[in-house]
Symmetry: C2
Subunit: 614 residues, 2 copies
């Protein structure tokens, strides 16, 4: 009996239309946990440097963890793992909603999808069956539209994850969306394009099996005791969602403005803030499975200048990237842009990044109205942003180039465009500025999927969060240098565990300690992990992803930041004068990681982590 797991992984070959139900071994569960960790093991075994991310040989993995479907709060999550068509390296995208829990209820811990279908299909998975269904009739429909159609063809309780036209059109930063208009996104790294290349439109699941827990009563007791703390600590998230952070982020100098060129934007940030949203277009909230925070925003706009909006409201990242980064301070317009991205199925972070990039190219005459089909790509022009979203989602006009992401787009456009293309390893950065939090410089430079704040999630520990188990008993000074390499490595290890177990990062900064996670994991699985084992496992998982990247050619030279974030000061606001001394922090990081001069895990490190023969 594998407590905490269903013990089964479905291997689905879309070329051959075959399904294999494979046992999950107890050893693999203990060593790789689940989620992106187990995904890493499978991706490492099935793909490599030569794998074309958009070829049938790429593997697309959906994986739950031992927390999914249990009582653990905020564990309604799953990981999507593949080789990224945007970056050519490790891709993971972690997503909430109800789908992961539904998959596990169907008796399955995860899906491993290989091959590619000739014609559009969707999968319909229940407790006992897996069907390949024709999807010709929904190919081209957006992620909101397919929800009712597929439910009517399967089960009205089915949970659905799908791609929109962006994924079908192989937009390199296409997302995989879940739950229709209560939209949750596996947004980053272009996982939706991989699904599109496989001609897989959607996966609908419905099941009825619970996950067996080794010591359910003790688990219930522990969680019940802890819950009030989490509720108390996440009040603001409940009230304003992620978007509540916009104003404070601007104040801290953390919010990226005008393609990372400006330091402050006080009125703009107020106009598109979560607080303003709550006063205006907010109609309610929605929850992921097993969550009591409910940060999801429901918004409704009728007859705005840009049309109607009825669905998930924009998150902090979306407001920042499609708003502040493009200087758009019209909340209704950003809500519309958000809905369009959700419907097309594309990452709002990369979309905002690539549009701001295009605006700067336009400012410098590298792109003209001839390229945009007459759109004047002026800073702050909400209509232009919305036009670009359509062009990208449909891969039309300038959208053909922008759909490739900033790195490739800059190479195509040439000249000084490279200066405007902010990315790490090909991934556009999210809405936190390494000039405002030194740790983010290391985190962005070393995150396995490219510029990412979530794989390290360090910046909360430079504001308020602590980790008593590591003797981080007070927050770090965000502009200090010493210790940031070590902090980042430790947090990357912990976040690797969160993304494998699955648990939401809001829970972790909301009071769930390492000790809680270890206790719950042991109660669920019957294991006897210590905090040290837990951290070592996280370290194993992070290094395994790095090994995958090393195999793809990643070395120290790639662990850097765009020149603008290293040498251009914000100039005003809460982080006016800071520039992160990346080299010094990286040096500490490599040393702490036990990596060699090239940024590769050493043989002795691999032995320590039991990663020599995988």
């Amino acid at each position: 009996m594998l407590y905490g797991y269903q013990g089964k992984i479905l291997w689905i070959d879309l070329s051959e239309k075959t399904v294999n139900k494979v046992d999950l071994s107890a050893d693999d569960a203990y060593k790789y946990i689940g989620g992106s960790g187990l995904g890493a093991k499978i991706l490492f075994s099935t793909t490599g440097a030569e794998t074309d991310p958009l070829g049938p040989e790429n593997t697309l993995i959906f994986m739950t963890g031992p927390f999914t479907g249990t009582r653990v709060p905020t564990a309604g999550r799953h990981a999507v793992v593949t080789k990224s068509p945007l970056t050519g390296i490790w891709a993971e995208s972690d997503i909430g909603g109800t789908w992961g829990t539904a998959l596990k209820k169907a008796g399955i811990d995860g899906l491993v999808i290989v091959g590619a279908s000739n014609n559009p299909v969707y999968l319909w998975i229940t407790d006992s069956t897996v069907e390949f269904r024709n999807a010709e009739h929904i190919w081209g429909k957006d992620t909101y539209e397919i929800e009712d159609i597929i439910r009517s063809e399967t089960n009205h309780k089915a949970a659905i994850t799908s791609i929109g036209p962006a994924g079908e059109n192989l937009v390199k930063f296409a997302s995989i969306m879940s739950d229709g208009k209560d939209g949750r996104a596996a947004g980053r790294s272009g996982v939706g394009a991989v699904m599109g290349a496989k001609k897989l439109k959607a996966i609908a699941v419905c099941g009825s099996q619970n996950t067996s827990v080794a010591r359910p009563e003790e688990l219930k007791k522990s969680i019940t005791k802890f819950l009030p703390t989490l509720v108390a600590n996440t009040k603001t998230r409940k009230e304003f969602g992620t978007s509540g952070a916009l104003i404070s982020s601007e104040k801290l100098g953390d919010l990226p403005i005008k393609n990372w060129r400006e330091g402050s934007w006080v009125e703009g940030s107020e106009r598109i803030s979560g607080q303003r949203m709550a006063e205006t277009i907010l109609t309610g909230r929605f929850y992921c499975s097993s969550c009591m925070i409910g940060c999801g925003r429901k918004v409704e706009i009728k007859n705005s200048a840009y049309g109607n909006v009825d669905g998930a409201g924009p998150e902090y990242e979306t407001l920042a990237l499609l708003g502040a980064l493009c200087l758009v301070d019209d909340l209704e317009a950003v809500a519309m842009a958000n809905e369009l991205c959700n419907r097309y199925g594309m990452d709002t972070i990369s979309t905002g990044g690539v549009i701001a990039f295009a605006m700067e190219c336009f400012e410098h005459g590298l792109i003209t109205e001839e390229d945009t089909g007459g759109v004047s790509l002026q800073w702050g022009d909400a209509g232009a942003v919305i036009d670009m979203i359509h062009q990208i989602g449909q891969r039309k006009k300038l959208g053909k180039i922008l759909a490739e992401g900033v790195k490739r787009a800059a190479a195509q456009i040439g000249g000084v465009a490279e200066e405007f293309a902010l990315h790490v390893k090909g991934l556009e950065p999210p809405a936190h500025d390494p000039r405002a939090f030194n740790s983010l410089a290391v985190a962005y430079a070393t995150s396995n999927r490219g510029a990412c704040h979530l794989q390290g999630f360090t910046h909360p520990y430079e504001i308020a969060a602590t980790i008593p188990e590591l003797n981080y008993c007070k927050p770090f000074d965000r502009f200090a240098v010493r210790g940031k390499g070590e902090l980042t490595a430790n947090l990357q290890n912990i976040m690797s565990m969160c993304d494998s177990l699955k648990i939401c990062k809001f829970a972790v900064v909301g009071g769930v300690t390492l000790t809680h996670m270890v206790e719950w994991l042991n109660l669920i699985t019957g294991w006897e992990m210590t905090v040290a084992d837990f951290l070592l496992t996280g370290e194993r998982l992070f290094n395994l992803k790095r090994l995958y990247n090393v195999r793809c050619g990643i070395t120290r030279k790639d662990d850097t930041l765009p020149p603008r974030l290293l040498s251009l000061k914000r100039g005003s606001g809460g982080a006016a004068d800071n520039l992160p001394p990346l080299g010094e922090m990286l040096s500490e990081y490599y040393l702490y990681r036990g990596w060699d001069e090239l940024g590769r895990p050493t043989q002795s490190k691999l032995e320590e982590l039991d990663l020599v023969n995988i």
Copy 2:
């Protein structure tokens, strides 16, 4: 009457075999001075982004300055300016010896060579004639061998500058050498390959005209009064040449060791030091025109393991790059390697850099004995270094790839080779470590020809040198950060003047102040420049070179250092723990320079520098 100049520039078309003697205007002389400054004006007007550096359309400029041929000490220098085949951007290489003075004595301030000959030729220039001479019989001969042959065909007093087989074979870092075995080198940026592409083997000059000076008696008096100071301050240079710095450089943590991977090499540096050279193989010294220091080393080795040596001894840079960088601690071997580089006519800095790069590739199995023709490229193997010099100079076996410089070689070899390829903008760094002198990080990142210590020459100002006129009254702390951007910009402006006037940098750190240079320039030319005018002119010249590079596509993204120098600590020795925070210093530098976000001179800066219409 243009005092300080001969007032004539020869434009020579090698395709058409035509010569035009063009007047130098008083305005151009005042605005661009001479040397690399006037060279910049001419290169800017005749070439651009589309120019193939090895095509007949490239311009190869030899230019003296108003100090050349006067009483000013150490002014026996000229500049070679062209578009670099190694980097594709601005190339200048400043060289001592007797040739520049001889050119000026022939009544000419400079040569501008365009086109390309079909067959090898050499030029024979006198007071009244310019001859295109057939050079078939000396094509393939080395730079020592041609000296007697050309003199016997022209005049036994002729000064000769030439290329060796490396330039003929278009080795991308081929040098132009002067004065045969008392060899002086225009080593950097591959100027020799441009001469080779033009099928121009050598230029012999002999003349009898003095340079008219506006106020000769006052000049004589001022210089005579100053000379004892210079003599006193340059005693060590006289005694040990540049090589005298090796031991102290190692102590400071400035010496690059094992391709920039190690921090100390005490015994090795002693074994190949100038002090050891003085005790063993040194037989005498030689002087450039109008120099009283005489840092040139004459050495002789008979029947060593590697053959006989009889000529110029290795400089500091050569000992460091062909010695320490490759872990070779055999002085006789390095002297032999130096003589070979001089004879082949190739830059010892880039040669050492590319061989150390190859050794690291060999260590990692990216290059094997199959590639090297059986040579085992082990660290410290002097024989292997000598073998590689032959392979590069002849473009045989691995030399075909290495002759392209580390940047292109790494791209050809692929994999992690890029990590071992240390360069800035394609130019291999000289033997001073930015981890030992923070200012060098800015200087290397922003030097117009790529990684270069001479275009800024900042590090002496972090040891002992001062500039009273700028209120730099005591040396900077080499590990401090603030002020280094400004220091570098100011010194780049001053060095741009030195390279235009011409005057040796040993004179500048030996006591020649800004005030001296301005005084002498005014006495020579009859101008009434102030120190402020002088600095503004230097700023103009530096910015003009930058403008040239901007035109070739250079922006902020290129102003960086190899990852190894930013994030790998030396680990031991005199600069064990320092890493230069480049971003912070660059930020200060751009601000001080008045450059825009892309690292381009702003319109108002161009107006201030009178560079709007050039």
